[in-house]
Symmetry: C2
Subunit: 344 residues, 2 copies
């Protein structure tokens, strides 16, 4: 039901996903009217919900006043029953991000060893791969321990959805030297070096903003404020540049002719930086897999989020995060990392 | 002497600047050998310095071991003598940013009413104007009062170099609502609203990362960590997109032909997003005007920094910052803003 376009986008994307993934099963959650077109679909179960969380609803409204929202009912499918079975392996929503995180956290709870769930998304880089960046807005203030946990969770995500073993982790900072940055960042660097020195993490060191797009690291770790500003300002630059290219090609009859001739080239470029291709952010650190599609996604883009979520579930991301956290904890003193000795 | 290319870039830029600014006078500071080509230039005084701060020098080296560096001698020209006269109105350097800020701060001192100097630069926006963003890296941790001071200084800079009276100020945040962001950001918002409600500042409210490029505000305020990450990641996106356009046009004989036909259009686009055009960051809040050119600047780009610095001095930016800070302080309680009542 979520996103700017609702079922007019999500349903066609679901149909295409089912057609291309013969082993997949979908549970569709929404109003009976919205789900009607899917009545006869194979490998598809309809679950009705009487309410919808809107993009403007507050977290409080989503949690307290809309207990039968499609969002909440969908997330409930991830909860294990008494026999330990779940109805669904992963939930995908294009709805209100704040509400999705709050309801997911309330219903699923945070995984052992994780203090704060984080939002992780992928950004394209010059190696024609994707850089995973987290947190992108769930946590405004973070401790060094939170950043370490983000590193571990981001690594597990990259392994599950990008198939990269031992992904390289970078700490987003304002310089390469270990003395750079705030006290939190410096201590996060110490923790990451400690864990890496014992072989539990593949730590690159500090990276800077442009390294996200150089592909210096597979995972770039930052607090949610910095990550959100970086994400949105990068979207802003990309939009501005695309708009300026268009404006220049529309300037006169001659430039329009040039545009016609350059069209195949421009299309290829457009496709390489098309944000629809890397849609699908992961809410990591919960006892259940939740993916968030961009609210403005079209059917193709929502389909990409479905595929990424499906990959994550099939490659057992939940186990991956759990195992990686347990493994990392071994490198830290039993106090839980609150008093790690300073690295030399 | 500074920057990646030294006098081979700075001298030609200075010559062109002198030729196009008939009322301007230059003091060139450097080694005698480097300055030799400028011996016969009109309206140009040569000042020799025996040392050079390199891009790799630490702040300590610049401050303590290189007391006769060209950087330090240049900044000394901004200090008033006993009669209150200065040798120079503004200093421009392409050298080591950290050293430039430290030496400027040490020699010039911070302006009354300013706790921390900040680095402000301009980024292009979709209105074909420039958005001033600060701080870009001088201050990793900021209080709400620092952010307020950045807002005031940025406004004065935009008025002096862009000619915009009452520039619109935005607070960089992760959402439009006043409840968004960290405690520091929320309190900065309160301070800005208090000052704006009394007519001392034109405050827009929160802006997000993409607003920098939409041109929503003339001045965007953030701490130096966030600003630096945003600046560098934006440079990273822009570089990646330009590289991808080039790659696509170089893919085959046909695409190369298309490139040839599209060349005039691509050149116009390239020029609109050319970072050389908006080179020249201001070190604000000091008792003297210091501008920083990008280290990798070519002669055209260094010339843009000279022009911006010249505009700032001619339009009395130093007085502008001073007057704006005094004016803003009137809106805050006499305690100096440390305990401003919460806005309703």
């Amino acid at each position: 039901m979520g996103g700017d376009h609702g079922p007019s986008v999500t349903l066609p994307a679901c149909k295409a996903f089912l057609d291309s993934h013969a082993e997949a099963e979908l549970l569709l959650v929404g109003s009976p009217g919205a789900l009607a077109p899917a009545t006869d679909w194979q490998r598809c179960t309809l679950i009705t919900a009487s309410q919808v969380v809107t993009m403007d609803d507050t977290v409080e409204t989503a949690l307290r006043r809309k207990r039968d929202s499609s969002m909440r009912v969908a997330i409930e499918q991830l909860k294990a029953n008494e026999a330990g079975n779940v109805a669904a392996d992963v939930c995908v929503s294009a709805g209100n991000t704040g509400a999705l995180m709050a309801v997911s956290r309330y219903l699923l709870k945070t995984m052992d060893g994780i203090d704060r769930p984080a939002i992780a998304a992928f950004m394209p880089n010059m190696k024609d791969q994707y850089t995973c960046v987290l947190d992108l807005g769930a946590n405004v203030d973070c401790t060094a321990e939170h950043l370490l946990q983000f590193a571990v969770m981001g690594g597990a995500l990259v392994t599950a959805t990008e198939g990269r073993a031992e992904p390289v982790v970078g700490l987003l900072n304002i310089g390469e030297e270990v003395i750079k940055g705030s006290e939190v960042i410096k201590r996060a660097g110490e923790l990451l070096r400690t864990v890496a020195s014992q072989g539990h993490l593949n730590y690159f060191g500090n990276v800077e903003g442009d390294d996200i797009f150089k592909g210096t690291a597979d995972v770039v770790v930052c607090d949610g404020f910095v990550g959100n500003v970086a994400l949105k300002s990068n979207e802003g630059v990309a939009k501005m540049m695309k708009a300026m290219i268009r404006q220049e090609f529309e300037r006169s009859v001659f430039t329009k002719l040039a545009a016609l001739l350059a069209m195949p080239v421009l299309r290829r470029f457009q496709s390489r930086v098309d944000p629809r291709r890397y849609n699908g952010a992961a809410l990591l650190g919960l006892k259940g897999l939740v993916f968030k599609s961009h609210g403005g996604a079209d059917a193709f883009s929502f389909g990409q989020a479905l595929i990424r979520a499906h990959d994550a579930a099939r490659n057992r991301l939940l186990d991956g995060v759990h195992d990686a956290i347990v493994d990392t904890m071994q490198a830290l003193p039993p106090t839980g990392g609150e008093s790690v000795p300073q690295a030399a």
